[in-house]
């Protein structure tokens, strides 16, 4: 079987068609756009004011301003990145449009590329205004991280896409009965990736588990940058290697779940 038959051929035109479809949807609904900004803003304000209060009453926190707000903003990149990917996919299931897409020449790899692009679009709509508000309210400038921010962002978004791809496979195979997974799976990462505290806080046996998750390296890296003023390139490279493994595993799982969905006949009936 050649690459075209296997669905590996790639067309930017078809990716563009899917991005166009999601852009039409997004711009047709102001609540969808509001939702992208609303929760990140609330989160950032809550943690920002909490940090302000703590820093006024504890010497250590006064010296490491921005750790909480930075953690909130980076966590939102991870969480909203996956959610942006998964919501675009769920929109197809809500619209009962998956059959149309699966029957069209759209390859799975193109579909996934379009979902990644939309994840970036949705993330930008939500996170850029919130990062600017963080400057206005708390004087915390995420953009001042410079190259480090690019490294943090790349690693977090790769993890979020890997999880999104896996969830899309589960949804194809199991229908909307698995929808709650799309909304909640990232919260499993919240305590384990040590978003708000160092890995050293965890019990020894749990630290081993934390270190196999790429975002743990990013959050440790952020603390190293803010507290010790050191950019830990080693942590970013380790995260990148783990992300490569995670991404490959998610892609394999997706292909197998899609094949299973074809066997089970669940592509036409994607309800509960």
């Amino acid at each position: 079987m050649n690459s075209a038959d296997a669905g590996l051929e790639f067309s930017l035109n078809r990716v563009g068609a899917m991005v166009r479809r999601y852009w039409y949807l997004l711009r047709s609904s102001w609540p969808r756009i509001l939702d992208l900004i609303y929760w990140p803003t609330v989160q950032m304000l809550m943690w920002g004011f909490l940090q302000l209060y703590v820093s006024q009453n504890a010497g250590f926190f006064a010296t490491v301003g921005g750790v909480f707000i930075g953690a909130v903003l980076l966590w939102d990149i991870l969480f909203r990145g996956q959610l942006g990917f998964s919501i675009s996919f769920l929109e197809e299931m809500y619209a009962r449009n998956l059959g149309n897409l699966m029957m069209s020449p759209l390859r799975p790899v193109e579909f996934i590329a379009a979902l990644m692009i939309m994840s970036l679009v949705r993330l930008s709509i939500g996170m850029v205004p919130v990062s600017l508000l963080a400057i206005v309210f708390f004087g915390f400038n995420l953009w001042a991280f410079g190259f480090a921010l690019a490294a943090f962002f790349a690693n977090l978004i790769l993890t979020s896409w890997a999880i999104g791809i896996f969830i899309a496979g589960v949804l194809l195979r199991n229908g909307l009965g698995a929808e709650s997974l799309a909304w909640t799976i990232m919260f499993l990462f919240l305590p384990l990736t040590c978003v708000y505290y160092p890995v050293a806080v965890l019990p020894d046996w749990l630290q081993w588990f934390a270190w196999i998750l790429p975002p743990t390296y990013v959050f440790e890296g952020m603390r190293a940058l803010l507290i010790d003023h050191v950019f830990r390139a080693d942590l970013m490279l380790e995260a990148l290697a783990l992300n490569a493994v995670l991404f490959a595993a998610a892609a394999i799982a997706f292909v197998k779940l899609l094949a299973s969905a074809r066997v089970q006949g669940s592509l036409l009936q994607t309800g509960e």
């Binding site: 079987m1 075209a4 038959d5 296997a6 669905g7 051929e9 067309s11 035109n13 078809r14 563009g16 068609a17 899917m18 166009r20 479809r21 039409y24 949807l25 047709s28 609904s29 929109e91 619209a95 009962r96 449009n97 998956l98 059959g99 149309n100 897409l101 699966m102 029957m103 069209s104 020449p105 759209l106 390859r107 094949a259 074809r262 066997v263 089970q264 006949g265 592509l267 036409l268 009936q269």
Partner: protein
């Protein structure tokens, strides 16, 4: 389609078993290019599963499906741009306007001149005045026409239709049938139509395949089926088959 396989669709000993339940049981048929065939059967007869396997959406348990010479689902990407379908199991996205939906699918199918193609289809299917309206705001008949426009957007050589006129009033349903017949004649397309509507099948189809419990119970032209069962309408033939009354049984009666 290659020289050795003149059939647009070839189904050989096709079987689908879902968790111990046989939905399609070793059926075989060939549809010549340019033909229009009706797939008749009651609920659970296996029509939708058969069409889904022809489309490559469902992997057969056994047997083979070939469309335009490509083995499905393995070689589906060789031919998907030359096929299309309409089914009650799928919808067009409701929030997008008709024009936006058609533009997205035209781009997915690699249609060269999208705007003129949409304008021409809209004129043919009397959708011009609805083009900039959200698809979800249309009536059931208008939505069916939009689905039909999507199904024809790439001028498919093979068109698979699952209950294309379900939930339409008789006038709109008749209008849709007329458009399908026009399309087949104009483009030489092969159409496979699954339906409960006997009038529809009788009017459109040169050949009827009747399915029951996953098997083909009968396969012939409408005229020969009527003659063989001694009936005046396909509905009566369908009821005979559905209730297990054979032609011989009829003859004895």
């Amino acid at each position: 389609m290659d020289a050795f396989n003149p059939s647009a669709i070839a189904v050989e000993r096709l079987t689908k078993v879902y968790k111990g339940t046989t939905a399609v049981d070793g059926i075989s048929f060939r549809l010549p290019a340019g033909s229009i065939t009706g797939l008749l059967g009651g609920n659970g007869a296996g029509k939708t599963t058969t069409i889904a396997m022809i489309m490559g959406l469902v992997t057969p348990t056994a047997g083979t499906v070939s469309v335009l010479g490509a083995s499905m689902p393995k070689e589906r990407y060789r031919v998907l741009h030359r096929m299309n379908f309409e089914s009650p199991y799928v919808d067009m996205p409701m929030r997008l306007t008709v024009r936006q939906n058609l533009a997205v699918f035209a781009q997915l199918y690699g249609v060269a001149d999208i705007a003129p193609r949409i304008a021409s289809l809209a004129a043919d299917l009397e959708l011009t005045e609805f083009l900039d309206r959200p698809t979800g705001k249309l009536s059931s008949g208008q939505k069916t026409r939009v689905s039909l426009a999507k199904a024809l957007i790439n001028n498919p050589e093979v068109l698979l239709l699952d209950e294309p006129t379900a939930s339409l009033d008789p006038d709109t349903a008749d209008w849709v049938r007329g458009r399908l017949e026009q399309y087949r004649v104009a483009h030489g397309a092969t159409i496979l139509l699954a339906s409960h509507n006997m009038n529809e099948v009788e009017r459109l189809c040169a050949r009827v395949i009747i399915m029951k419990k996953g098997r083909i119970e009968d396969d012939d032209t409408p005229a020969r089926l009527l003659a063989r069962y001694g009936r005046e309408t396909l509905e009566e033939v369908f009821l005979d088959v559905a209730r297990g009354r054979t032609e011989q049984h009829e003859a004895v009666q």
